[in-house]
Symmetry: C2
Subunit: 147 residues, 2 copies
DNA sequence: TATTGTTATACTCTATAACTATA
DNA sequence: TATAGTTATAGAGTATAACAATA
């Protein structure tokens, strides 16, 4: 199968680092951090019932997102409401302002990404995005070379 | 263009993290670090005339690869020879043993990767690899959303 | 006994500063 | 004055341990 290609990780990791770096100026313009944006992006899909679940969803440690959630809440971009069914937990939901901010950020980011994707021949571009989406939907545990 | 897709970085970064994590057990088996493997991979392509150039090539700081080079040299996987034309510099080249090790490691890694790639429909797979290789060959500076 | 959220702490990785020797 | 290689140090980012409240 492999016709003398470079390792996948060796190709993908530097590219994804560069993609993240390219997002930073945009995020700064909107005064939000990478983790903050990741949280908004996740909560836009659906509210989440515990902070632990959110942390797991975005691949972060539960202790690491606490300052992020604190700031998002202060800025009224998310709501943390005590769960009446489990008084330990705090339900998380994005506010209208949070949704608007994430939409604005994403529009800027994807505008830049589209210019980059334009370098890929149209015939390959959709297949690339389809394959990438497929890989991204795999659970991390499914990406293993053992067994 | 974008038909409601996730951000590129949001898709690629977790995947590349998982790919790197999947390599670790293989690297451990061959008793080499990720950076050590990256160095061998680069030197297999061509010898390099300064450590700074090597560091830049693999996206590392020049101070960070020194212990890596020390160990590779101790294990006779690379050679560091003083450059007669510039006595500050040390030319870097992979040895036969180094080349053999990198070939063995790469075979193991790509065997695992091929199993992963098999999940992608064949019609998309080659286009995916072609597009990924194209992005990987861009200089990091070319991946920018400004201008 | 286990889990949620939290704080404080330790650890890892990475970049910066400062040095010697050459150019 | 600038660069190659090196060392030691500082910083950012991340994970671990321990705690109170609740299940």
């Amino acid at each position: 199968m492999a016709s003398n290609r470079a390792d996948l990780a060796a190709m993908m990791y530097p590219v994804s680092r560069a993609l993240m770096a390219a997002e930073l100026p945009i995020l700064r313009t909107h005064e939000i951090s990478m983790w903050g944006y990741a949280v908004l992006n996740t909560l836009v899909e659906q509210p989440i019932h515990t902070q632990s679940a959110l942390a797991k969803e975005i691949g972060a440690d539960k202790t690491r997102i606490i300052p992020v959630l604190d700031e998002l809440q202060e800025r009224a971009l998310i709501e943390r409401t005590p769960d009446p069914d489990d008084r330990r937990a705090r339900r998380l939901a994005v506010t209208d302002a949070g949704r608007a901010l994430r939409d604005a950020v994403q529009a800027d980011i994807q505008r830049g990404e589209d210019r980059l994707l334009a370098r890929i021949p149209a015939a390959d571009r959709t297949a690339f995005l389809r394959a990438l989406a497929l890989l991204a939907e795999l659970a991390p545990e499914e990406i293993s070379y053992l067994s």
